[in-house]
């Protein structure tokens, strides 16, 4: 298929939307060098951003606030974090929690003491607080009790925790929500995207998490010092590097991909464009192939540290480990001097291996080609406000044909079958977040949110069959306004080929987890650990360089640590 691309003008994507946009495949995505964390860190270290504390006001028990700032070439931002005394029985990752170990906001500039006092009245209350345009991100985090207490204990007695123990959990604190884009009064995305450093998606939220990571290291040192006094030591940099920030993510994130087809299209088409560019390379160098093999070997080693409680994920990780071993053997014998070597190698992977291994391989072949593909990162944003429009002068017959051409995945499903319409998406009265209900077991399906894209397009299609083919769409939508949303999706589908998940999002077998993993992989998350089919734990920035470390030593391949 052809798709007009800003950089490439026209590119024949190697993998079609029909192949890529299936839940099972997007639910197997891994981070790539286009992932948003990697884009952010490349910028931070190439522009040599400065990090410094402006305030460290914690009491003798470790509670109070700190202000950790970052100076970019054009602006200063500060993470204002509040450390709270949280009784163990109140520590919960659920969105219904009302207290946390740490709450934080990322603000513009360095806040005055008056501003900090104001933030102290709002930030700890999270959703119940009100923020202003000066605040860009709001979030909270809880300790990993097991690792936190163990690390504090060891450091306070003058020793370092073991590397195995630290790697096993991977984080000292995990965020349970990180809000941006105008929520609770925060600055809108339309404001944030005007700051060059935050134009790529989710840069501001991920900067907050990156700053948080360093604050957590300093907090754990502080708690150890409180406990151990002069005997205490600080956490070694070697250990800090393998500690990221954990995160629990639920359904709130899943609906994003459906509500923003324009963004989904940009993310996936950038990724697929990158894959295509690499597969089309006529020849490759020894250095490039060696780098691939090195990162492949590290990936195989790192799989051992990918722990999950989910039986199905454990199985997938096991399969991934053995398939990567097989790929290592294949690569060792592979003649990379043939024409289009990546295409040959990747075709072999596609024929032989699981989706998990295919998608990790897709990430790996991109790694040697920063110069070729990193600029695609600039195209992963969609300027807010640009409006998709309905050309109401198209006829109903034309729209029917368009649906037949582009939405066969939607119209071939029988939604009258209860299994195919078993679920419904709704907005929770309790937490004002998206949730998934069981249509035939729970109340509320009459208030369904418009996430059943496939079904709605099929209903639109069936309805179109009932009207005259030459009827104009604008006229039709006056009589049948309930199809307006579906009409817009159909009309924009040609310009956004990767904008739609081509699966039934209300079927009994649908796993929202796949949507979460897709989005989180674009963030750059690793160590996906599904806790049910509706929420997942992950790790962010594990193995990333520390804020303030020597920029000249920046290792762009940090997600693939050596000596796993």
């Amino acid at each position: 298929m052809k798709y007009k691309h800003k950089i490439e003008e026209k590119i024949n994507f190697y993998r079609s939307p029909d192949k890529v946009m299936k839940l099972a495949r997007i639910g197997s995505f891994h981070q790539t060098r286009l992932s948003f964390m990697r884009q952010l860190l490349r910028r931070i270290f190439s522009e040599k951003w400065n990090f410094l504390y402006h305030d460290w006001s914690l009491d003798g028990n470790g509670f109070g606030h700190v202000v950790f700032s970052v100076e970019t070439p054009s602006r200063v931002y500060s993470l204002v974090a509040f450390s709270h005394d949280l009784p163990p029985n109140k520590r919960s990752d659920r969105v219904i929690a009302t207290e946390w170990d740490l709450t934080f906001a990322l603000v513009k500039g360095v806040p005055s003491s008056k501003e900090i006092k104001k933030l102290a009245k709002e930030v700890p209350f999270q959703e119940a607080g009100r923020l202003s345009e000066n605040e860009l991100v709001l979030g909270r985090a809880n300790r990993s009790v097991r690792l936190w207490e163990s690390v504090v204990e060891k450091l306070s007695s003058g020793s370092q925790p073991s590397m195995d123990e630290v790697k096993d959990v991977g984080y000292l604190m995990r965020t349970t929500a990180v809000y941006g884009s105008g929520k609770f009064g925060l600055a809108d995305r339309s404001t944030i995207e005007t700051y060059e450093e935050f134009f790529a998606p989710f840069q501001v939220e991920l900067l907050a998490v990156f700053l948080l990571r360093n604050v957590v290291f300093d907090l754990v040192d502080y708690f150890a010092k409180i406990k151990g006094g002069s005997r205490a030591v600080t956490l070694s940099n070697e250990l800090k590097k393998v500690i990221g920030i954990g995160n629990s993510t639920g359904l709130g994130m899943a609906s994003f991909l459906v509500h923003h087809p324009e963004l989904l299209n940009r993310w996936i088409s950038a990724r697929e464009c990158a894959v295509t560019k690499v597969l089309e390379l006529e020849s490759i160098s020894q250095r490039e192939f060696d780098l691939f093999k090195e990162l492949l070997k590290r990936s195989r080693d790192n799989v051992k540290n990918w722990k999950s409680v989910s039986p199905s994920q454990i199985k997938r990780i096991d399969v991934l480990g053995s398939e990567l071993a097989e790929l290592i053997n294949f690569s060792a014998e592979f003649d990379f001097k043939i024409s289009r070597p990546w295409l040959t190698l990747f075709t072999w992977v596609e024929k032989k291996f699981s989706l998990e291994t295919q998608e990790l391989s897709a990430s790996l072949i991109l790694e040697p080609y920063g110069k070729l593909i990193d600029e695609l990162g600039l195209e992963m944003s969609f300027q807010s406000g640009n409006m998709p429009v309905i050309n109401g002068r198209r006829t109903c017959a034309e729209i029917r044909l368009e649906i037949e051409d582009n939405f066969s995945w939607a119209i071939e499903v029988d939604y009258e079958d209860k299994d195919q319409s078993a679920r419904f998406w709704y907005y929770s009265q309790t937490k004002l977040e998206p949730r998934l209900g069981e249509r035939y077991e729970e109340e509320g399906s009459h208030l369904e949110e418009p996430l059943a894209v496939g079904r709605d397009i099929k209903y639109f299609y069936c309805q179109l069959l009932e009207v005259r083919g030459d009827r104009l769409l604008a006229d039709y939508l006056m009589e049948y306004p309930e199809h307006r949303l579906a009409a817009k999706r159909v009309l924009t589908s040609k310009s956004m080929p990767y904008g739609e998940i081509r699966d039934n999002l209300i079927s009994k077998n649908m796993k929202p987890l796949d949507m979460l993993r897709c989005k989180l992989s674009f963030f750059g998350a690793t160590k996906f650990d599904p806790r049910s089919d509706r929420w997942v734990r992950i790790c962010m920035y594990q193995n990333a360089p520390l804020a303030g470390s020597d920029c000249s030593l920046y290792d762009d391949f940090w997600p693939y640590p050596d000596k796993a």
Partner: protein, 212 residues
């Protein structure tokens, strides 16, 4: 003060609850956001429309023919949809310089629906009695009173392509009267579903309170 995102999201849900389709509700959200961005009355412009629609006091045309020929006053919002869906796509040869309409109810709702296309590189000019407004990606200005008359006798609209892409600076906060916000919240609430036992058992963090 509210962010544009907050107002858009709440307006969309309130509009759905008022009886509009999800597609139309999304247009309301965008319209309110755009009105606010251009410093025009936003939530307050749509409150009477949503309340009237909820109470089934609003006439909505079923066909283009009905909209154009039955002589009834035209509701600004629906007229706006007709313009962006239909008039906006008129072939070049048939393009008219100025669109004129008579008897338009709540014309600011119409202007709100049209405003988002300014982001697509369009210059838009709208005139009614004692009021004119123009907007392009690089500038906007208004003259006269910007209230939202219940019924405007004559209204004119002009579109043109704007080649300059320098972005105008916009406001990004909305001051909303307490009663209008409450009205939106109450309407939006009607689209929310109480949490069920199943969702409590399966939601993020469930079954995993403590801890690793």
């Amino acid at each position: 003060m509210y962010s544009l995102g907050e107002v858009e999201a709440l307006s969309k849900k309130a509009s759905k609850a008022a009886g509009l389709s999800w597609g139309e509700a999304a247009e309301v959200g965008r319209a309110i956001r755009s009105l606010a961005k251009f410093e025009l009355p936003s939530v307050e412009a749509f409150t009477p429309f949503l309340n009237d629609f909820f109470q089934r006091k609003i006439y909505r045309p079923n066909t283009l023919e009905e909209l154009k020929s039955n002589g009834k006053p035209l509701v600004g919002f629906f007229l706006g949809l007709y313009i962006i869906d239909f008039e906006f796509f008129r072939p070049k040869a048939e393009k008219v310089k100025v669109l004129r309409f008579e008897k338009v109810i709540q014309p600011l709702t119409l202007l709100g629906v049209l405003l988002p296309i300014v982001n697509n590189g369009v210059k838009l000019e709208v005139f009614w009695k004692n009021f004119s407004f123009s907007a392009s990606p690089n500038a906007h200005e208004q003259h006269g009173k910007n209230d939202n008359p219940k019924l405007e006798q004559t209204l004119s609209i002009h579109f043109s392509i704007c080649k300059e892409k320098k972005l105008d600076s916009f406001i990004n906060r909305i001051r909303v009267k307490r009663k209008d916000w409450k009205n939106l919240e109450e309407l939006a609430f009607k689209t929310y579903v109480p949490e069920s036992k199943i969702s409590r058992e399966k939601g993020a963090g469930s079954g995993d309170l403590i801890d690793d």
